[in-house]
């Protein structure tokens, strides 16, 4: 049972008519709303202009808002991010797109050394209010150059916020909040669930978003605050901490196995909703952490440490991690790599048996 924390959002969602959208449509709508509301918002990235982006997230926006608000860039991630930092210093709110998260590395220095520290090093004389959008994660046969999940790199850097939506509803509200935020935000879009809530069962037909509670997207403007997790499913037996695609994998496993797990969709890794994590783990006494990224030094390691530090006396079993393997994403063996229902099912059994 997915539950939307509508009552916790600053804008009540009940009044706005909602339609079923997929995540791409929700992101497109968020970008359109911000282009409309704020003349300082500009979009840029490879192929995002006339063509509307390789995933169509920016489709129609250049036609509507013009070439100086939405434009294509050279193939230079360092340039895209560096230019966005300068635009932010001027007073714009750039929303650069990095076509795949795997390609963010040439822009890393501008993110890590520049965007992240601009406010700090200038004592807030200059800020970099940019929102870097980038599709991430595997499960689309993207091989080792179109499937990576580099979120942990960014959570390690002081000054960056990292956001990962798991539903169209959240994608829209979180993206608007990210664009309005005065800190640099990395907005990772789980591309496996752009068009449907993938539950990890790769050998079954994928469902579309239509009909999913998380696909109900209110019209118009609303935000979901950064740093606020969502209880995706209430339960008593154990807590599963997840984000992005893995929220749906967890939901699928719990459904299949009839496990009474509480699933916390973190939504933002930095700032982290530590209260939601603590409350749930203290209630259930057991904790499983799920992410697609490689295991060693992944964000799960941080979560595990936090849970152990802060909830140790409530724990009845060791914290478990379900993650990708410590290898690059293999093209032909991606379903062997993906942390799907089998890996998660075993981990749940282990926790419950402990």
């Amino acid at each position: 049972m997915a539950r939307l924390d509508a009552d916790e959002d600053p804008v009540s969602l009940s009044e706005a008519p909602a339609r079923d959208l997929n995540m791409i449509e929700a992101i497109n709508e968020a970008l359109g709303i911000m282009l409309e509301r704020d003349p300082d918002v500009i979009l840029m990235g490879e192929d995002i202009g006339f063509f509307g982006g390789v995933f169509r997230a920016t489709a129609g926006l250049q036609q509507k808002y013009g070439k100086t608000r939405v434009f294509d860039t050279p193939i230079s991630e360092c340039g895209i991010i560096g230019v966005a930092v300068g635009m932010g210093a001027y007073g714009l709110r750039p929303v650069p797109e990095i076509q795949f998260a795997d390609y963010i590395y040439p822009g890393l220095d501008q993110l890590i050394s520049e965007a992240a520290r601009l406010r700090y090093r200038s004592a807030a004389e200059f800020i970099a209010p940019l929102t870097v959008r980038s599709p991430f994660g595997g499960g689309i046969f993207g091989g080792q150059t179109h499937s990576q999940s580099p979120e942990a790199l960014f959570t390690h850097v002081a000054g960056l916020k990292t956001v990962v939506p798991s539903t169209p509803h959240d994608a829209k509200g979180l993206l608007i909040a990210a664009i309005e935020d005065n800190d640099p935000v990395i907005f990772f879009e789980p591309k496996r669930i752009y068009n449907g809530p993938f539950d990890g069962y790769y050998d079954r037909p994928t469902k579309p978003w239509k009909g999913h509670p998380g696909a109900k997207v209110p019209e118009g403007y609303y935000t979901i605050p950064l740093g606020k997790a969502r209880v995706a499913r209430e339960g008593e037996a154990l807590t599963i901490l997840a984000y992005g695609t893995m929220v749906h994998v967890a939901e699928g496993v719990c459904r299949e196995k009839g496990v009474d797990a509480e699933i916390i969709d973190l939504r933002t890794l930095v700032p982290l909703d530590i209260e939601a994590v603590e409350n749930s783990v203290r209630k259930t006494g057991r904790c499983l952490i799920a992410h697609e990224a490689t295991r060693t030094s992944g964000f799960g390691a941080e979560l595990s440490a936090l849970v152990t530090e802060r909830c140790f006396y409530h724990l009845e079993a060791p914290v478990e991690r379900v993650t990708g393997f410590d290898t690059p994403y293999p093209h032909s063996l991606e379903w062997a790599y993906f942390p799907g229902p089998v890996r998660m099912g075993e981990a749940i059994d282990k926790i419950l048996e402990a």
């Binding site: 100086t68 560096g82 966005a84 300068g86 050394s113 200038s122 004592a123 004389e125 700032p271």
Partner: protein, 426 residues
Amino acid sequence: MAKVDAEAGGNRPRLSLHVPEPRFRPGDTVDFAHLQVPEAGAQPRPDEACPAAETNPLCTDLIRVLGSDNQAHGPWNPNLTPDKLRLILRQMALVRAFDARMYRAQRQGKTSFYLKCVGEEATSVAATHGLDFEDMIFPSYRQQGCLIARDYPLLEMVNQIYSNRADKLKGRQLPILYSARSVNFFTISGNLATQLPQATGFAMASAIKGDSRIAAAWVGEGSTAEGDFHSALTFAAVYNAPAIFNVVNNQWAISSFSGFAGSERTSFAARAIGYGIAGLRVDGNDPLAVYAAERWAADRARSNNGPTLIEFFTYRAEGHSTSDDPTVYRSAEEREEWPLGDPIARLRDHLIALGEWSEDQHAEMDRELAEEVLRTTKEAEKNGILGHGLHHPFHTMFEDVFEELPWNLREQSEQAIRERKIKWPD
């Protein structure tokens, strides 16, 4: 297959790797005869709105105004008033006096680090006068002259260098990595060339908003090898951004000579040709030529004719920083034999030749400036020097990481304050 290759290889010349080597090492006699120093005033001055290709010959030439006769020559003569010339002279001399005092302060243990710009004062002071005050400067770490040219308070600079309780950057930045929004001077990064794409972005933003401000960035010749340099120029060229890229070619990047940034094959200004943007190679020790070139590029950018790459050909007369010892890697004669002279001496002699200045006035000015700097440092020392306790309160360490303090920084801030009571009981 391998066998055939091996046989064929028998006749092939052996490949060899070229590792650049500077002309002179310590102990060597210096001879700068290989440097082409053209006559002052001999370089054509194309219209600011000219097609970029018209500047191509100027990318390998050297724009000069002040001749050996101490007079201004040719079409690049900016015809500045004597008052303006005296102002530029005074500010360059102030930069030198400031550098001398701050270098000493570092040796006295009042700060950890300092970088002088001796010999390069024109590339910052005169260049800044070529811009409008509203134009945003994206400096590297040797452009203290830009701040001084915009009358930024010396006291703020010393407070920053001492990281004391009055340092408005809250003691976070390495000395000399200033930030001064009030005079449109962007915060300096220690990572090289990162300011170049940022300057392009600022210029693009200004163009998007239909503003009239332009951006001017400074970078050392060594840092042109960074990827950011090429990203910045690509973007600037693609979007015709109103930006100026000043490459200060002072011949040395710590101990690596300019050959390691590619100067053996062509000039740094010539990189403009490949991007299809305007390029100028300028005598960086000629304040009039520096001013004129920067003004030309600014006018060009402001009238939507696009970016310019300027190479200021100059010489780093001192070490890279207080941590450097140039006597280990370069000839001591280089500085004395540098054929383009000293920018302050050249402007002084020009003003004297014009009858607008005298040796006595110059000596009196130097005395005044030294006193002004000394007075300022004494004033700054009341706010503390590095490591002597008069710093910002601990909680400021956690501010400005984000706009708002998240829970983890709140907790860590409380920890730092707890530790303080143990480490430094009052």
